[in-house]
Symmetry: C2
Subunit: 200 residues, 2 copies
């Protein structure tokens, strides 16, 4: 039913498979790519292919990397006594952007979600326990899974598994975001903020 030449229609279809890219946006992007000079357009295609081919998950922490183990795991300047547990490589980037955390990471690649059929064995959790057993430098595990039901369940489950080893397990604080507005803060966050209050 389309009046586009086939290769163009194919490009639009492929682009619109991306989340957040609707048909209109895909059309706009496709026409824009066709309007580029060959080198620029091929550079996008190459970047996709190379990123997909060259990036793998670090065998130690599970983070995205082009060399195994990853640059964070092999960085001798980092504090090897703390491991921050996150759900995805994007979370590692978010924490790294802050430039304050100097410990290591462990990427779970998901969170426990019985509704979606994701149990503890479907995420990279067993590997964390093995890593902690094989490595007695670690004194604290900070669980930084997302502050939602799945993330909380994962945090609770991980804490239960780690605690017997005597390693300190902590959870990042929940509360009102800085620059936020009390009035616009949802009830649960507000109640967590009250619970987590500290003396000043």
């Amino acid at each position: 039913m389309s009046n586009y030449p086939k290769p163009l229609q194919k490009l639009i279809n492929e682009l619109s498979k991306l989340q957040g890219v609707g048909v209109k946006t895909a059309q706009r992007l496709a026409f824009q790519i066709l309007g580029m000079n060959d080198d620029d357009a091929f550079a996008i295609a190459d970047a996709i292919t190379s990123a997909k081919k060259e990036l793998k998950y670090c065998s130690v922490c599970g983070n995205l990397t082009d060399e195994d183990p990853c640059a964070i795991c092999t960085d001798t300047a980092r504090d090897r006594s703390v491991i921050c547990v996150v759900e995805s490589p994007r979370d590692v980037s978010a924490i790294e952007r802050m430039r304050e955390y100097k410990g290591l990471y462990h990427v779970l690649h998901g969170a426990i979600s019985p509704m979606d059929g994701i149990g503890p064995d479907q995420i990279n959790l067993k590997q964390l326990i093995i890593r902690l057993q094989e490595n007695d430098e670690v004194g604290e595990v900070i669980i930084a899974t997302n502050p939602n039901i799945e993330g909380e369940a994962t945090a609770m489950y991980a804490a239960k598994l780690i605690r017997p080893s005597g390693i300190r397990v902590s959870r990042i604080a929940h509360g009102v975001p800085v620059g936020g507005d009390l009035d616009y803060t949802d009830d649960i966050t507000l109640s967590r903020a009250m619970e987590g209050r500290r003396e000043i």
Copy 2:
């Protein structure tokens, strides 16, 4: 300054060169592409490369096509007495979507814009005049350039060139968009709508 592995940073850079894709969106898309299975990710890269390689401009009308002349120019069911002049291949798609116009097209690939150094020779206008001279079937040229300063200037200029040949030259109507609101219509559009009023 980035903490991403190089191939990932390169992918983010390439994606953020697309108009309307900021760094945050590029990051989201990059991580999404990395999360796809290889086939799906490579399909996007392939679609870009093939579209860029296989699509060219029709030597008759200038529309994007994978075969020359294009499917519209070679379609014997179409009315060869009318040529609709548009600025870009996207405009052809927009008019084709309407499923009412059955004539041919001519794509200018731009509009006259002295401010941007685009004169009549920088757009595909000479080719239209040659096409009209070589082809005596054409009875009407509909100028459907965009309703802005550049599009109007182009329409006026093209009309001046075509008129001596005795071919009828028309311009698509300007007015209040259907479903629009008079109150929100700008003054110029409203004045054009009044000017173009028709007896009912």
